[in-house]
């Protein structure tokens, strides 16, 4: 599903604050797998996840999503690939405060040709699925952390993505909520989605259901 | 109802109000046309040359006859008559070239 070849990402290249976030990484994420990117903070997990999810382009190397080489794709197409293929779950949830649960979930589909009613129906389906129906008209900032994370998951799922990318999804959740979240991710995996989780939470990576653990340190992959 | 419908309805209502006002204005304008003809004829009959808007100074009352140094023509130390003085343009300069 995802194929990375000698990918390097350098931020602020050529400036004094130059940072090499990802160095010469090659890896393969098979379709329908559940993989974990493991490593301490600052090891380059998030950057790598961003590269996989077409959030930014690598400074060097090749990234293939499906059959498409996206490393050199113009922004327009990159966005399209991102929208159609990936669903993101962020560490800080990154919901739009002040608007309702339902609207947050609907957001990714706004700039598409899909009619608003259809988007709403879909969003309601997703929200119901995540057990948030009672809260769908609430503004998101009033929700608990676990609920917010579920809204974020709902938003990632609305476009019926193939790949779910989760960045430290349990960082702000207690054990019970973390388990609940893991349950949801496993269910998605069970439905045939490819799941990649960046985390340093043993609750996530030390589990039998994880098919592939990729350990990172200082921007490189630590050989297993 | 979706918010954008409410918004578009609001814009439509405002546009319609404006159009109505404009139509009403046009109606009033046309209806008062005979009145203006009457005023024109009165200006001719009474030989009036200026509008009676500002009456505090002669140059404000009769800009058509104001002198080029008009702001001080009323009284040597007259203060400038504030609003009218700044709204009234000085007498048209061409007149100087034409006849004086």
């Amino acid at each position: 599903m995802l194929h990375l070849e000698q990918v390097t990402k350098i931020f602020n290249k050529g400036k004094p604050n130059e940072v090499v976030a990802v160095r010469d990484v090659s890896l393969e994420i098979p379709r329908g797998s559940l993989s974990v990117l493991k490593g301490p903070s600052g090891s380059g997990k998030t950057s790598l996840l961003g590269l996989m999810g077409c959030m930014s382009r690598p400074t060097a190397g090749r990234i293939v999503v499906g059959e498409r080489d996206v490393a050199k794709l113009p922004e327009r197409f990159l966005t399209e690939v991102r929208r159609k293929t990936f669903g993101f779950i962020f560490q800080h949830f990154h919901l739009i405060a002040g608007i309702s649960v339902l609207e947050n979930v609907m957001l990714p589909l706004y700039p598409t040709q899909m009619p608003l009613g259809e988007i709403r129906r879909r969003a309601e389906g997703v929200v119901d699925d995540l057990g948030l129906s009672a809260r769908k008209h609430f503004a998101v900032q009033g929700l608990s952390g676990g609920e917010q994370q579920r809204v974020a998951i709902g938003r990632a799922l609305i476009n019926d993505c193939e790949v779910v990318l989760a960045d430290e999804p349990t960082a702000h959740l207690d054990t019970t909520l973390s388990e609940e979240l893991i349950g949801i991710l496993r269910r998605l995996h069970g439905e045939g989605k490819t799941v990649v989780i960046a985390t340093h939470d043993p609750l996530v990576y030390d589990r039998a259901f994880v098919q592939q653990v990729i350990e990172m340190r200082d921007g490189r992959i630590v050989p297993a | 109802m979706t918010k954008y419908r409410i918004f578009l309805a609001l814009i439509a209502v405002e546009l319609a109000t404006l159009l109505c006002l404009y139509g009403l204005g046009l109606f009033r304008f046309n209806r008062s046309a005979p009145e203006v003809v009457l005023l024109q004829e009165m200006a001719a009959e009474l030989m009036l040359t200026d509008l009676a808007i500002w009456s505090e100074a002669t140059y404000a009352r009769h800009p058509s006859q104001a002198d080029l140094f008009s702001p001080f023509q009323d009284y040597p130390s007259a203060i400038e008559h504030f609003p009218s003085g700044s709204i009234l343009a000085p007498p048209f300069a061409e007149r100087r070239g034409a006849h004086e």
Binding site: - | A43, L46, I53
Partner: protein, 388 residues
Amino acid sequence: MSKHLKILEFVLSSLLRRKFKNLGIVAVFSFVVFILASILFLTHAFKAESLAILEGAPELIVHKIAGGRHDLTALRYGDEIAGIPGVGRVLPRYWGYYYDVSTGANYTIMGATGSPRSTLQLVRGAFIEAGQRGVCVLGQGVAEARLTGLNGIVPIMGANGELYRFQVVGVFTDPSTLLTNDLMLIAPEDIREIFDIRPDMATDIVVQVFNPSEVANVAKKIKYRFPELRPITRTEILRTYETLFSWRSGLVILTFVGALVAFGILAWDKATGLSAEEKKEIGILKAIGWETSDILALKFWEGAVLSLVSFLTGLIAAYLHVFFFGASVFAPALKGWSVIFPEFRLRPTIDPYQIFVLIFLTVLPYIAATIVPSWKTAITDPDIVMRG
């Protein structure tokens, strides 16, 4: 359904989050549009009105200049001017200003007589008959200032120090205020007496010219023959009135420059600094699949919603203000020192060009101020949001 409508939907939800701040912006913005539009409407209507009415003004007036000042004009000039080819009737005018101590108002007193057909339709009561003395026809402003009406008495102090009493036989009606508000018409004999005008003199002379294209020529000839006279043509009067109401020179604009500048600062402040929260939101939207162009559309609609609502609201308010409520907000400012000031009943005339100027001055800059600063954020890679 167009994706713009959905983006608009999100914009509205988004704006509603900061209800009071955005309502505040709409209120201030509407007010600015209201003021600007009121000024434009008012001056345009004034201009149109004066140009229309003064079409009837005399083609040519001649008066004497003595030492650079307006002087009484001898009637003999009239006889000689009548001899110039193309000149029709030559009539003396008697008029002057009168400061009324008791009301603190200036009147324009004018000699008039006969039965002018059209004027009669604008007068309640009667007009001054030929040879009738001691009577007057008052403009509404004068009548109101003196708290008098038909059959009332208006005392006037003559140049000789004597008090003359004039009985009010007629009062000008409402539609004529723009032309007659401060007028007091009395018999020519009376005005000669109270202003001490010698029998062979007049205030000025009105010259009728048969062919309109000859007016300038006649004026030139008069100026050439009598350097001490000053001819004033109607074209010049109309032109003066046209520049007079030119909106650029308006005091009211000056008065509200403060408001304009404040609004400009507001817009600029909004324009130059996207808040961290706004930047984050743009990042989130990009991360979940919005394109740069979608973000710019979002910002466009954000500016368009606020400015469109404000613009239309301001425009409606200004229209009502100027044409239905007689520009009552500006009246005190426009009035200045005038004790007698007409109540405007302006006829609604609107120049589409002005509307475009208004849009150009308000809506477009605001939308630009909303879009431009978000440009830089919109084109950056969304992965910055992940590290935030």
